[in-house]
Every structure is written in structure tokens, then in C-alpha cells.
């Protein structure tokens, strides 16, 4: 049995991917003071690996555990639970990241990588000697979630959270719910009508007693932590009342391009995006309304936006801010320069606007030959594709465009059987359940398949007027073994990829991170696929990456499950890494209070001690962020962040500096 007076450390060194000589590391570390046992194991995180740790704690009296393995973000929590199961305080555990920061990055120099492992572990052991038992901070949690985004992912997340007996506030930046899905017509794989399906979902959400909806609303500030985020929202005025709305809309004469139809049509600045939208009350487009009075009969009415501020607290935030279709640069495959080049979303709107039985025309000419061009704004290659203005190259696949293109090819053939279709692609990625069927149908319909190599993309050019066609698409076709092919076309449709909606303000406020592709980043695609690095902020849908409707709905429900895991018990546990004052050393200088940026986190109190009054600092753990501003400010060294003390850091530096000749076994 261990009497607690002699701290011991055990090193469990997992060979993650190692070029490192783990066994040498383990043998060396075994020689360090207090180390009781030092092991290597292929998978310490497995159940059998964890039982070894439990056994060592129980049988050898080990009372500090250090593991060098993968990044602490992956398995630190796992091992804290392990030591807790064996009866130790969970904070008697220290995790050293040897995989991502050593064995995976120093493959060229095994000896130095091994030395690095020894030093990092020695530092970890040095810290472990000074670890103290800590208790998690338990705080009540609001069973209330804020969902940002009123598209299909936000709606699904809101409904799933509300069904789990929690309150939801759903906010949508635009004046109407529905998001990108509302702009679709028939959706794959079921063939259902998008707005019919969506309408059903919206009404379930709108009718739910635990869901509050705010449209025209954005997050303007957020503070706090999981379980208790203090949130401020700003809500734009609707601008019209139900009584005057229809008349005002009739009278309004200011038109702007209609983004619902991707600029193919115009709409008024008082508008409904589509029939059956929610809310049905029209709204004023404040961004475009020029402020001039609207003449209605004898009345001249000036519309006024009087944004309202709403304050609320929520336990968790779901980010479902969705995507934008890639907007090709002017001249990219002729887009914006040649009127006969449009995007796939535009084609979908164009076909929706076309009356049944009418023939397809572009720019006043009948359409006979259409080229569908894949991967516009997706799978871009540096040096081949022009970067976007900010230097970004979209090197990812957008998942849905292949199936969406096949699906449109089928619709085109159904409605205009005489049209010739040419599908120009690098690969056809109809991966989803039932999607291959659409590929096959497209082939059966007689669509001509042409395939280019990514490094050698096709070229779209205008033909001189008087030519049989307005455009020509040129490519080297791999299906005919590299033949140069020219396809004259009346219409070129660009299957544009997905881009995350740029929500920089929101990202900054929430302190979450975008990935290299600018989509919001999850902690780990398999271990924590919908969580962000900020506890209590989760991701849903295409804000995270390209997804189909089905995938967005599933991701949204997964996000809801995560929210339920966090909040359903009505309390959250926070790490105890907050400031702590040593009353023995505190002289009440107040230097700590001065540098603290958090309200009520640290304050001076007067206490009576041995008959005399003394001022000293007191920390309120729930308000403390653990930043440590106060630690460096205290002239008497009286404050520390629990679990991250200065003494521990000094000891770690000493650990890194150990003399290798003292600890290494000498080879005979």
C-alpha cells in the first residue's frame, strides 16, 4: 500500500505508430525517481490495456499515471476515467502526445525522436509528481439550445432537441425558413418535391411548443460556457404588418435580382421568396430597400427597420449555417461572359420557372445541345485552376453535384426528349444509396459521356455569331483514348460545388475554427464528429462540409444527440482548471483583480485573522476561465491555475533538460 507520502509515477508508453524505440524509452524512464513501473503496449487505450493500468494501480500502489501516446485531445479523457475506475483521483493522470508530435513527424531520425520521447516523458513524469487531486466543477445547465440557421439541418436539429424535452430557440438570418433546400424542386433519391417535404418539417417545428423561432435574426454576442451561454440576438423588423402587407407589396416598385432564382428573375424589396413560405407574412429586404416612400393610393409610406435586441441563456449552440453554391469567377468556363453558360442551381430554377410543355430556350434561341460540366469549384488543383480572390483553391469534392447532375439530365430528357446531352466529367461519383440508378438511367437515355483528366480541364469558348451553335466545349477525352473532342453547344451547365457560407463574425464570436477548406472543423471525424473545440458548440449540416439533404438531416440529428448528452441531466461538469489563491501567501495587493478580464472571477475580501483584518483575493470558479493572467501578476506567487501550476511547468522544463547520460543505459 502506498502511504501517499512518496508519489510514484507509472509510465505507460504506447507504441502508436512508432519508429521510436518504445522499449528503450520505457527502460530509460524506469530509472527516473518515483517511477514504479514503466511499460510499453500496442494499445494502451483498449480495454485490456486499460486493465493493466487498473491492475498496476491496485496491485503496485501506483498513484500517478503518465501515458505517452496519441494526442491528449483524443484519449486523455479515456485514461482519466481509467484511473478513476481504479480508485485514483482522475487528475492524477498526465497525458503526453508522442504520436502526432514525435513518432509521426521525426521518421527520418529515429535516435533523436527517441531522445525527444524520453525528454517529453521525463517532463510529464516531473509534472505528475506535483499533481494534486482535483474535483470537476459542477454547474446547473440550461435545458435550452440555440440553433443558428433555419435550413434543413437547423430545422431537423431543433426538432430533435425539442423532442428530447428541451427548449430550443431557432434563429435564421433571412426573413424566411427553409434555406437552400427550398430552392430545389424534386429531390433525390425519393423524387419527392423539396418544398412539400420541407413544408412538413417547418410546420412541425413551428407548431412545437418548446421551439421559439426568430427569423431575420443574428447572433450579436455570446459569453459564458457550456450549460450557460449568455446570448444576445439582434432581430430585424419585418417592416410590414399583416393588415397592410399585401397592399404594400402590390404598390412597391423597387426591384432587385431575386436570389431565390439565382438572379434569373427580379423581385420586389417587399417579398415572399415563394408561395407557401414560412412565415407567410412578406418581409422587407432591408439590405436593398433604398428608403424611398412607397406610394399606395394616396398614402406614401416609408418603411422603417427598428432592430430589436433579445437576450437569452442557452446551454448549447448548434451551428447550422449551411452553404453557398460556388460562384464561378467571371470568365471561368465562360461564366458571366457568355450568356449561354449557367450554373446547375440556375438550371434547376430555370426549369422550375418554365411552364409545362414549353420548350427550353436560352438567350432567345432554342436549346438543342447541352453540355453538363462537372467539378466546377470542386477538386481544383493548385497551378491548374485559378485561385479565388483570397487565394483559396477548392481541392475537395462536393459530394452531391454528380448525382444532382445525373438527376437533372434525367429531367431534361423527360421534358425535352429531342435535346442532346453531353456529360463532361473526371469521375462520376454517384455513391449514395439509389444514386447509381440515376447514372444508369442517364446512360440509357443516351447522354454522351466524356471524360477529362483533372490536370487537363476542358475549355469553353464562344463561337462567332452565324455559327450553328453559340459555344463550343473542347477537351481531351479519356474514354476515346485521348482524342481531342469538340462539342458545339447551345447551353453549358456548370455543376458548381459547395462553399461554406462565410460566417466569420460568428466563428470569431464562438471561438470555433474553420478547416483548411474553410468549412467548420470538427474535433475528430470519428471520435467527436459533430463537436467543435468549444464545449457546448456543435455543428450540423453543410456548415461542416458538403452533404446531401439526407446526410445533413443525419448530421443534424447527431448534433441533437450530442446536445442531449450534454444537457439532458440539467447539469454540466467543467474542468477544474481555474485560479486558486494560497491564503498563506496572499498579501491582498489586488494585482490579480487588476489584470483579470472576467467579471466576478476574482475579488478582494476582508477577513479577520488572529484578531487583525486582512485583505485577500478570492476566486469564483464558475466565472474563472483559467487564463492565468493573475498568476503572472501576483508579486507573491500566491495564485496558481489548478492542474497547470507554475511549479509544475518549472518541473517540466527540468524534465526536458535531464542529462541523457545520467538516464541512458550504457551499451556494452
Amino acid at each position: 500500500m502506498d502511504d501517499g507520502s512518496a508519489p510514484r509515477a507509472v509510465d505507460e508508453n504506447q507504441q502508436a505508430d512508432a519508429d521510436n524505440d518504445c522499449k528503450l524509452v520505457a527502460r530509460t524512464l524506469a530509472r527516473l525517481p518515483n517511477v514504479v513501473v514503466s511499460r510499453t503496449n500496442m494499445s494502451m487505450c483498449s480495454d485490456s490495456g486499460q486493465s493493466i493500468i487498473e491492475q498496476d494501480i491496485k496491485e503496485l500502489g501506483v498513484n500517478r499515471v503518465v501515458i505517452g501516446a496519441c494526442a491528449p485531445s483524443l484519449h486523455e479523457a479515456t485514461f482519466r476515467q481509467t484511473v478513476e475506475r481504479a480508485g485514483l483521483n482522475r487528475y492524477y493522470y498526465h497525458h503526453v502526445g508522442l504520436r502526432e508530435q514525435d513518432s509521426w513527424v521525426h521518421g527520418h531520425d529515429r535516435i533523436l525522436a527517441t531522445e525527444k520521447a524520453i525528454r517529453l516523458m521525463a517532463a510529464g513524469i516531473a509534472k505528475a509528481r506535483l499533481l494534486e487531486p482535483l474535483e470537476a466543477i459542477r454547474l446547473p445547465a440550461e435545458k435550452h439550445a440555440l440553433v443558428i440557421g433555419g435550413g434543413v439541418a437547423g430545422l431537423k436539429a431543433a426538432l430533435a432537441i425539442a423532442r428530447r424535452d428541451m427548449r430550443v430557440t431557432l434563429i435564421e438570418k433571412t426573413p424566411f425558413l427553409g434555406g437552400r433546400m427550398a430552392q430545389l424542386e424534386r429531390i433525390f433519391p425519393s423524387g419527392e418535391h423539396a418544398r412539400t417535404v420541407l413544408g412538413g418539417l417547418i410546420h412541425e417545428v413551428a407548431d412545437h411548443p418548446r421551439i421559439t423561432i426568430h427569423v431575420g435574426t443574428q447572433l450579436t454576442s455570446i459569453s459564458g460556457y457550456v450549460g450557460d451561454f449568455k446570448i444576445q440576438l439582434t432581430k430585424q423588423s419585418r417592416g410590414v404588418t399583416p393588415e397592410q402587407a399585401e397592399q404594400l407589396m402590390d404598390c412597391c416598385s423597387q426591384y432587385v435580382p431575386d436570389e431565390f432564382n439565382y438572379g434569373l428573375t427580379q423581385r420586389k424589396v417587399i417579398y415572399r421568396p415563394y408561395d407557401g413560405c414560412y412565415p407567410s407574412l412578406p418581409a422587407v429586404d432591408w439590405e436593398h430597400y433604398d428608403g424611398s416612400p412607397i406610394t399606395c393610393g394616396s398614402e406614401r409610406i416609408v418603411l422603417k427597420n427598428d432592430p430589436e435586441t433579445l437576450d437569452l441563456s442557452a446551454g448549447a449552440v448548434v451551428v447550422a449555417t449551411g452553404f453557398n453554391p460556388y460562384e464561378p469567377a467571371a470568365g471561368e468556363y465562360g461564366y458571366g461572359v457568355i450568356p449561354e453558360v449557367i450554373t446547375l442551381p440556375q438550371l434547376i430554377r430555370k426549369l422550375a420557372l418554365l411552364e409545362a410543355g414549353a420548350s427550353l430556350e436560352i438567350n432567345g434561341h432554342p436549346v438543342r445541345d447541352i453540355v453538363m460540366l462537372h467539378c466546377v469549384g470542386s477538386r481544383q488543383i493548385e497551378g491548374v485552376h485559378e485561385p479565388q480572390p483570397d487565394g483559396q483553391v477548392n481541392d475537395y469534392c462536393s459530394r452531391v453535384c454528380c448525382t444532382a447532375t445525373m438527376y437533372e439530365c434525367i429531367e431534361l430528357k423527360e421534358r425535352f426528349p429531342e435535346i442532346n446531352l453531353f456529360d463532361v466529367h473526371e469521375d462520376i461519383r454517384t455513391y449514395g444509396r439509389g444514386h447509381e440508378e440515376f447514372y444508369r438511367q442517364t446512360l440509357e437515355d443516351g447522354t454522351v459521356m466524356l471524360r477529362y483528366q483533372g490536370e487537363n480541364p476542358p475549355v469553353v469558348e464562344a463561337l462567332p455569331s452565324g455559327d450553328s451553335h453559340p459555344l463550343v466545349v473542347r477537351l481531351r477525352d479519356r474514354l476515346t483514348w485521348g482524342e481531342e473532342v469538340e462539342v458545339p453547344a447551345d447551353l453549358v451547365v456548370l455543376a458548381v460545388g459547395m462553399m461554406p457560407r462565410l460566417v466569420n463574425d460568428l466563428v470569431e464570436m464562438l471561438k470555433i475554427s474553420p478547416g483548411k477548406d474553410r468549412f467548420l472543423l470538427e474535433v475528430h471525424p470519428k471520435l467527436r464528429p459533430v463537436e467543435t473545440s468549444v464545449s457546448g458548440v456543435v455543428l450540423a449540416g453543410t456548415a461542416q462540409g458538403p452533404m446531401s439533404i439526407q446526410e445533413s438531416a443525419a448530421a443534424a440529428e447527431a448534433a441533437a444527440a450530442k446536445v442531449a448528452c450534454l444537457l439532458s441531466q440539467g447539469r454540466v461538469e467543467l474542468e477544474p482548471f481555474v485560479a486558486r489563491v494560497n491564503p498563506e501567501l496572499c498579501e491582498g495587493t489586488g494585482a490579480c483583480v487588476e489584470v483579470c478580464a472576467y467579471e466576478n472571477a476574482i475579488s478582494l475580501r476582508t477577513i479577520r485573522q488572529n484578531g487583525s483584518e486582512k485583505r485577500h483575493a478570492v476566486v469564483s470558479p464558475a466565472n474563472c476561465s483559467g487564463c492565468g493572467n493573475c498568476v503572472s501578476a501576483c508579486p507573491h506567487g500566491a495564485i496558481d491555475v489548478q492542474g497547470w501550476t507554475l511549479k509544475q511547468f518549472d518541473a517540466m522544463v527540468d524534465g526536458l533538460a535531464i542529462d541523457m547520460f545520467d538516464v541512458l543505459e550504457v551499451e556494452k
Binding site: 508530435q101 513527424v105 527520418h108 471561438k511 472576467y598 497547470w644
Partner: protein, 149 residues
């Protein structure tokens, strides 16, 4: 096994924030990009906790360079980055009086996916160390007295 190779006599201490540099270093790991192994990364919540003495002591203990990879404007801690910058500036002043080359201490913002900036920082610091040598060469210029009281 011998630990002696010719580039092995320097150590770079990297203090990296969990919300920034530490995650950035993990991202480099996920890409399996090789870099110099004389880099010792310690995770920190926010480097504003370190007083000037901490850095001086680390130099004294044989850290030849220190890179503080904080989260800059992305920091989740209010006031943390500003205070860190102030403390580092204070440390520079004290390094000057002690004769330690101030380029040995560097404050830089590294984000969770900043893999290229991370590698660049490590590479630049190593080039500097090749040029100016280990920290004890700075100390030997000064008297034997201890630098931290």
C-alpha cells in the same frame, strides 16, 4: 545506443496553447510532415500565466530558444493575448541586461490548422540557432552569477 549526433546540442521549448499551437502541431502530425526533433512542445491553456522569471529560468536550465505559440486574436481568453505580449516584452528587456540574445524568445500566433506557419517557425528558429549557437554561449559572455534571484 548513442545519442550523439551533430545537430543534437540545442533544445527549443515550445509553449503551445491547447486552442492554438498545440492543436496546430497535432495537425502537422496528422500530415506526417517531418521537422526538426529538437522541439519540445508543452501544452498550455494561455501563456499569460508565465511571469518573466519563468522564461529566464528556462534559458538558465538549458533551453536554447523558446517559441510561445499562442492563439493571438483567436484566443478564447479575454485579455490573455495582450497580457502575454506585455510579459514577453518585459522579458526581452531583462534578456538584454543579461546578455541573452532576444531572438531566442519568440511570440507567434499559430492556429489549429496553421501547419505551414508552424513548420516555418521551427525552421527559422533552428536556422537562428545554427547562427548564434546554444544559450550557454550567451551566458559565458556574462559573469557566472545566477540570472534569477
Amino acid at each position: 545506443m548513442s545519442m550523439e549526433t551533430k545537430n543534437h546540442n540545442t533544445k527549443i521549448l515550445i509553449l503551445a496553447t491547447l486552442s492554438g499551437g498545440y492543436a496546430g502541431a497535432d495537425s502537422v502530425g496528422q500530415l506526417h510532415v517531418d521537422y526538426a526533433p529538437n522541439t519540445y512542445i508543452l501544452p498550455v491553456m494561455c501563456p499569460s500565466m508565465f511571469p518573466e522569471d519563468f522564461y529566464l529560468r528556462a534559458f538558465e536550465r538549458g533551453m536554447d530558444a523558446i517559441i510561445v505559440m499562442y492563439s493571438g486574436t483567436d484566443s478564447p481568453y479575454k485579455g490573455g493575448p495582450e497580457r502575454t505580449a506585455k510579459l514577453i516584452n518585459g522579458t526581452y528587456e531583462r534578456m538584454k541586461t543579461l546578455g541573452i540574445d532576444t531572438r531566442r524568445l519568440r511570440l507567434t500566433a499559430i492556429c489549429t490548422v496553421c501547419t505551414k506557419p508552424f513548420l516555418k517557425e521551427v525552421q527559422q528558429m533552428n536556422s537562428l540557432l545554427e547562427e548564434i549557437g546554444p544559450v550557454r554561449s550567451d551566458f559565458s559572455k556574462k559573469s557566472e552569477e545566477s540570472i534569477v534571484s
